[in-house]
């Protein structure tokens, strides 16, 4: 949820930025991203900054839709319209 919330607010976000924003380790984020990628929610883009490799994460349209649905469900619960 936190990873997708970070990605939803931008077009592309660098791996290290997401890691710092969500406050998790590289391997944990890597594992979560792999799961999200397999679900078709996140796209991983590899690039370079000079000679240094950089990884960018991007939410797919499906991922964005799923996030919007999830937020709507959370709002419904928080407002008392959903499950108690």
């Amino acid at each position: 949820m936190s990873i997708v919330a970070v990605l939803a607010a931008a077009d592309q976000v660098e791996f290290a930025f997401v890691r710092d924003a969500v406050e998790i380790t590289d391997p944990t984020l890597s594992k979560q991203v792999t799961t999200l990628e397999k679900a078709g929610y996140v796209e991983v883009i590899k690039g370079y900054a000079g000679k240094r490799p950089r990884t960018w994460l991007k939410l797919t349209p499906e991922g964005r839709e799923a996030f919007v649905r999830h937020l709507a469900a959370l709002r419904a619960i928080a407002d008392g319209a959903g499950m108690p």
Binding site: M1, S2, A5, V6, A8, A9, A10, D11, Q12, V13, E14, A16, F17, A21, V22, A49, W56, L71, L74, R75, I77, A78, G80, G82, M83, P84
Partner: protein, 137 residues
């Protein structure tokens, strides 16, 4: 999940959104810098001719190189910023060409007031773009 957990999850999502939003503001600086460089260049261009034109033009070139370097270093690419940035850049370039043509055709070179007004008009799309970027969600 109960109501409090859902509310906490929503608050956390909003917190992350704010973090990313704060890191997404860098195009504002880029557009303000470009606007200032274009303004200074176009104002100076009204008072020079021939090879001397390359001196003020080099200011914009240096600024453009810095913009490329600065943008490449950023960790967040805001949604739709390329489209908004392109509109500012395209409008600025069109106005620049019109400014130079009018300045030359009307014989307004060397006059401070037309240079000031024209330079402000050419730089305006960059400042408007910066304002739009600063308010982008």
């Amino acid at each position: 999940m109960d109501r409090e957990e859902a509310a906490a999850a929503l608050r956390a999502a909003e917190g992350h959104r704010e973090t990313v939003r704060a890191a997404s503001r860098w195009p504002v600086l880029v557009l303000v810098a470009l606007g200032c460089a274009v303004f200074a260049t176009d104002f100076a261009v009204a008072f020079v001719s021939g090879p001397w034109t390359f001196v003020p033009v080099s200011w914009t070139a240096v600024c453009a190189i810095w913009v490329g370097w600065y943008a490449h270093r950023q960790s967040v690419r805001p949604r739709g910023y390329v489209r908004r940035y392109s509109i500012s850049l395209g409008a600025g370039m069109i106005l620049h060409v019109a400014y130079v043509l009018i300045l030359s055709a009307a014989g307004l070179r060397g006059l401070p007031v037309p240079a000031l007004v024209g330079s402000l008009v050419v730089a305006a799309p960059f400042f408007v773009g910066a304002y739009v970027e600063s308010r982008a969600e």
